[in-house]
Assembly symmetry: C2
Homo-oligomer: 248 residues x 2
């Protein structure tokens, strides 16, 4: 019942899922925070893994009760550590199906992330968007991986609740929503703009900002006014303040 | 001229300064981002260290030009790495005197950080406060170390520009400013409060929130309204939104 060998097929399988290539093939991502697994209880995991210690201590009885036993795997602690992505594993991992959605809305307020590359920033923006009730986040095709364990961790369980879409820049423009780029120059202060339905604010890449293509194709441009001595705000902070204003 | 031995006294000295104990004794902290060192040019470092490579490539000529040669040390790359705290060292480190200030203001708007423990959060709050022109940040006695390299890094160069003070909770109460705690329950939405001169907003510890002592001794309480499904905002994001509202 407790898996103790590195040659075990289940061990090999779950260890491979840490790798993006295999994660994409099977379209499964991992959640390691027990709080997030509990909060996401409307989403049934495909598998639950427990460490030997957490199993023996019955630490997660509430989570696994009623869950199909064939889909629970228990690993010796040292093997569990190799499957886990956490620095200090909590002793539980849930594996969930990818949450892909097609964009079929013709109202609402959204962020479009134009190649945001840092998983902690992406996860943080998802958490803030969910907290403030934004209608969703749309990712450009070259954003960092939504299902990277760091993204999932930073989102808390908001990755399950917030509608998240993926879309090319060209497709975004073709939607006909009001596209608002973010830029420091020649733009309106966010403090002077009243956000409305069908606004989509474009958040740029951490280093390069909004792409030229979307700068040219946006309907207007806004900025968060800051001291001229300060180069920029942290990307997650800037996006979260914009979300806070959008949902006023 | 280029230090190549682990037995060199300068090597031993600078390596020790990574340790908080020795940093406190000599009251010197390190800055590793060349951008931050450039931006902080009103503050003269006590020492500048270069890696052999950055010295040979003359990467930081602008920064060291005019700087007292006796206070520049050049280390072989592998020794430099041991002195550095960065994952990918840029090849320069500036050592600066502690920036302690006494609180002698009777006007302005401030944050009081009530045992904020995470260096990245503290550094991020300093960056946002500087960006939005808050009058300063006051640290409780058990906040994480202001001079931790992670705090310094996250603050960018804002640690030099923003007035930062340290003060006990009792002293804070004795100032007679308008103390505003942050709490989810029975409090006013931040969207409905107009911040004014002599407001000090208290940001709680990441896990425990605002201390009972300051809850009891504050004049009022505010919250950032969020979805009931979301546990909390990221601490840096929450503090940054409060700063954004305070400086409106």
């Amino acid at each position: 019942m407790i898996i103790t060998s590195k040659n075990n097929e289940a061990f090999k399988y779950f260890k491979k899922l840490k790798n993006k290539k295999y994660r994409e093939e099977d379209r499964l991502f991992m959640v390691e925070k027990s709080v997030a697994i509990e909060e996401a209880k409307d989403y049934k995991p495909e598998y639950i893994l427990l460490s030997e210690t957490s199993y023996n201590e019955k630490k997660f009885e509430d989570i696994i009760s009623g869950f199909d036993e064939d889909r629970i795997y228990i690993f010796q602690d040292n093997l569990f550590k190799k499957i886990s992505d956490a620095v200090s594993p909590q002793g539980i991992i849930g594996y969930y199906k990818y949450l892909d959605r097609d964009f079929d809305r013709d109202s609402g307020k959204y962020l479009y992330l134009d190649d945001v590359r840092e998983p902690g920033n992406l996860g943080g923006m998802i958490r803030s968007a969910d907290a403030f009730g934004l209608d969703g986040i749309i990712l450009s095709l070259n954003c960092c991986d939504l299902y990277n364990p760091k993204t999932v961790r930073a989102s808390m369980s908001s990755i399950f609740r917030l509608p998240i879409y993926k879309m090319s820049r060209e497709k975004l423009v073709s939607l006909g929503f009001n596209l608002i780029s973010t830029s420091i120059n020649r733009s309106l202060s966010i403090r002077d703009y009243n956000f409305k339905d069908r606004d989509i604010v474009i958040i740029g890449n951490e280093a390069k900002g909004v792409s030229d293509f979307l700068m040219e194709n946006s309907n207007m441009s806004i900025n968060i006014p800051i001291s001229s001595k300060v180069d920029s705000l942290n990307a997650n902070v800037a996006a979260s303040i914009i979300i806070y204003e959008m949902t006023k």
